[in-house]
Amino acid sequence: MQTTTMTDAMRPPVPAEPGAGVYSNKLGMWVFLASDVMFFTALIGSYIVLRFGMATSWARPGAVLNVPLTGLNTFLLICSSVSMVKAYAAIADGKKYFLRKVPGKTLQDGGLKFWMLITIICGAGFVGVQVFEYIKLVGHGFTPTGYREGSVLAEHALADPVKYGAGVAGMYGSTFFTMTGFHGFHVTCGVISMLYLYFTKVLPEKYSPQDYRGIEVIGLYWHFVDLVWIILFTIVYLI
């Protein structure tokens, strides 16, 4: 799939870049991601510090949060990440189409349009499930301030304070909603950007094997968001 010859005509028209050896959009995205690492460091680091500093322990995993549902959500995000990278591979190979029959086989081969769409659907699905989860949680009485007075959760917490981490409910709510909320915000931004690219660049077939910088750059962002979720899922839901 790698061409071995390269003509000058194939060289994309960007200025000489003596520095990183990568084009500026990609370099800029990496620098931004480094910056985003520090943003999540502030949030996740505070969570770790606050949780360590607590006298009583956190609610047991699964007591308050719906882990199977979130597990599904994790699966969705992982799928979207792999479809993103498939989209990247597709356009690198010049497959701009949606689906095409593979010659000699019954299989269908997905192109950029197909894989991008899958990515967007999975990403939007993730956001949807998260919103659903939030609504459920708040309905049960789990809010950023702790367990709401008189709610189901508050009663459970009274009955079994250890399992539900009654002593630290306030901090549990604060950190949970802040971290997952800002992750969700990142996902939403990604979905919106991808939709924009889908309609302005992907569908009109503006990308080519010679220049698909937009796909690669948004892909980096998307994988990073996935990466953050992998960490968050473990430390927020499972530990």
Binding site: P15, A16, L50
Partner: protein, 594 residues
């Protein structure tokens, strides 16, 4: 994604391809880095004025507590009563003075203005890597400033927990006495963080990827080096503050408990996060100043900078150490004393690269041929005042000595010696130095010299005595020192400081006049008024849109003053090709990798 500027082949002049732009596109929603720099300049000078006016009111209250302030009558009753500043207004004054000066005056003046203006010009490129993001960075910074300013006009007055916003005071309206303005503070900081990150991503990418052929890393002027390292600091530090400000905002609005000790929150967490950002921020505020002063001192001395490489490594060293010293702001906070020891040692070590820089500046002047133009005078002022600021820092770095002077006027003196004596003197050097490049005219040398000498005198009269009253124990941010018996004997010094501060402020009118008057009536600038070596001086003044028609070549380092091969001139610009010079090989379009 791909902006127009990118899709163009290297060396394409923008002017040639564009139809004349409308006024709005050219000067307001401009994507030209020079226009954005100038926009930043005007906006941050405005905020500098705001900060200065607040400082004058603080000085009135400290010098003459309980006396009606002249002109205080125009302020509403919630701030002053019968012309006398109220305690709740006083803490708004100190909070907003700090906030405006740090976030909206010094930081954008150094990073917003000069990173934008100088980086592409000095590395020989046409514009920033992402011109549109650059424009957004400016508008977001302005938005953040306006949100912050709006704090004065909401019902309960401006934010009032000090510019450091220590929780839990800042997190709870019933403790601080302000609701909306505290939230506005947090929102403004989040927006500002976004603006800074956008700007810094741009600076880093531009410097790494868009240097002209021949502009190798060690041919970059120290100003560009400093701005590069500053941008790295900003990109990694600002998000931490953003995260902290978001948590604070949630504490203030939706009732989370991050900093609420009642529910297991940790007030010290805010301090850790704030200063983890805050100490790199300190270097964001001084490194660009150091870089520009290096350029100007080499120019004024007509000599190559002394020890270019060690200057670069000193910048990197300061930036690196800057990440592991934040605890020295918290020596008295009840932090683990063992950590205090670690932080003390790392803090003291910062004296080393700082000393290297100071001695190298002196080494540059040694056996030079010194020209005392206004930028040079201010740069020398910078070196001498930064030295005092740096040395007074040692007192506070040594933890036992810090005990009596922590959070007193001594630290106020220290930080003003670094930020006013350091950053602001550097700006008084940089503004006239690159003024011709911005506006095509020179600022008046005569007024400039007068301004420098008067500022230098009154500045020292204002801030030096603060060391003394700080040693005497006067706490910072107190509304009325005279209620303490141990502070009463110092009140005459306080009065003296206030008179000096008013004079200092008045002298700045000279600068403002010089700046504004020269816009229209200044002497037309020759192409290279300072006989400097930088790439920017190969362009006409003011520099045209798109800078160079063709990407320039760079033939040597930035400080070849008085080089033997320069002939009878005492400077040899980076862009001049001598017969012995060969053209640099342009970097291959795809550099082998991907």
């Amino acid at each position: 994604m791909t902006s127009v500027a990118h899709a163009k082949p290297a060396g394409g002049a923008h002017d040639a391809h564009h139809a004349p732009m409308s006024f709005w596109r050219k000067y307001i929603f401009s994507t030209d880095h020079k226009i954005i720099g100038i926009q930043f300049l005007f906006v941050s000078l405005f905020f500098l004025l705001v900060g200065g006016l607040l400082a004058m009111q603080i000085r009135w209250q400290l010098g003459f507590p309980g006396k009606p302030m002249p002109g205080g009558g125009i302020l509403p009753e919630s701030m002053v009563s019968g012309g006398v500043i109220l305690p709740e207004y006083y803490i708004q004054l100190v909070t907003m003075h700090g906030t405006f000066m740090v976030f909206f005056a010094i930081m954008p003046l150094l990073v917003g203005v000069y990173a934008n203006f100088l980086i592409p010009l000095k590395i020989g490129t046409h514009d920033m890597a992402f011109p549109r993001i650059n424009m957004w960075s400016f508008w977001l910074a302005l938005l953040a400033g306006l949100i912050m300013l709006a704090g004065f006009f909401v019902p309960d007055g401006a934010a009032r927990c000090g510019w450091t916003m220590y929780a839990p005071c800042s997190a709870r309206p019933d403790l601080s006495g302000a609701t909306y303005s505290q939230q506005l503070w947090s929102i403004s900081i989040v927006v500002l963080g976004l603006s800074s990150v956008m700007g810094s991503v741009n600076y880093i990418t531009t410097i790494i990827n868009h240097r002209a052929p021949g502009m190798t890393w060690f041919r970059m002027p120290l100003s560009v080096w400093a701005l590069f390292i500053t941008a790295i600091l900003a990109v990694l530090a600002l998000p931490v503050l953003q995260g902290a400000a978001i948590m604070l905002l949630f504490d203030q609005t939706i009732g989370t408990h991050f900093f609420d000790p009642g529910a297991g929150g940790q007030p010290l967490l805010w301090q850790h996060l704030f200063w983890f950002f805050g100490h790199p921020e300190v270097y964001i505020l001084i490194l660009p100043a150091m870089g520009m002063v290096s350029d100007i001192i080499a120019n004024g001395s007509r000599k190559p900078i002394f020890g270019y490489h060690s200057m670069v490594f000193a910048i990197i060293g300061i930036a690196f150490l800057g990440w592991i010293v934040w605890g020295h702001h918290m020596f008295m906070s009840g932090m683990n004393p063992t950590l205090g020891s670690t932080f003390m040692v790392s803090t003291l070590l910062i004296a080393v690269p700082s000393a290297v820089k100071v001695f190298n500046w002196m080494g540059t002047m040694w056996r030079g041929n010194l020209r005392f133009h206004v930028p040079m005078l201010n740069a020398i002022g910078f070196v001498s005042m930064f030295t005092i600021g740096g040395l007074s820092g040692i007192f506070m770095a040594a933890t036992p000595v810090d005990i009596p002077i922590h959070d007193t006027q001594f630290i106020v003196a220290h930080l003003h010696y670094v930020l006013f004596g350091g950053s602001l003197f550097a700006l008084f050097a940089a503004i006239p130095y690159w003024y011709p490049k911005m506006f095509g005219r020179m600022m008046s040398e005569r007024i400039g010299k007068l301004h420098f000498f008067l500022t230098f005198i009154f500045y020292n009269m204002t801030f030096f005595p603060m060391h003394i009253i700080g040693m005497g124990g006067q706490m910072r941010r107190i509304y009325d020192p005279t209620i303490y018996d141990f502070l009463k004997p110092q009140q005459p010094i306080n009065e003296f400081i206030s008179y000096s501060a008013f004079a200092l402020f008045a002298v700045q009118i000279l600068f403002a006049f010089n700046f504004l008057w020269s816009l229209k009536f200044g002497k037309k600038a020759p192409q290279n008024p300072w006989e400097d070596n930088g790439m920017e001086w190969s362009l006409p003044n003011p520099a045209p849109h798109g800078n160079w028609d063709k990407t320039p070549n760079v033939y040597r380092g930035p400080y070849e003053f008085s080089a033997p091969e320069a002939g009878d001139k005492d400077y040899l610009p980076q862009y001049v090709k001598l017969p012995t010079d060969r053209d640099p090989i342009p970097a291959p379009l795809s550099a082998g990798g991907h």
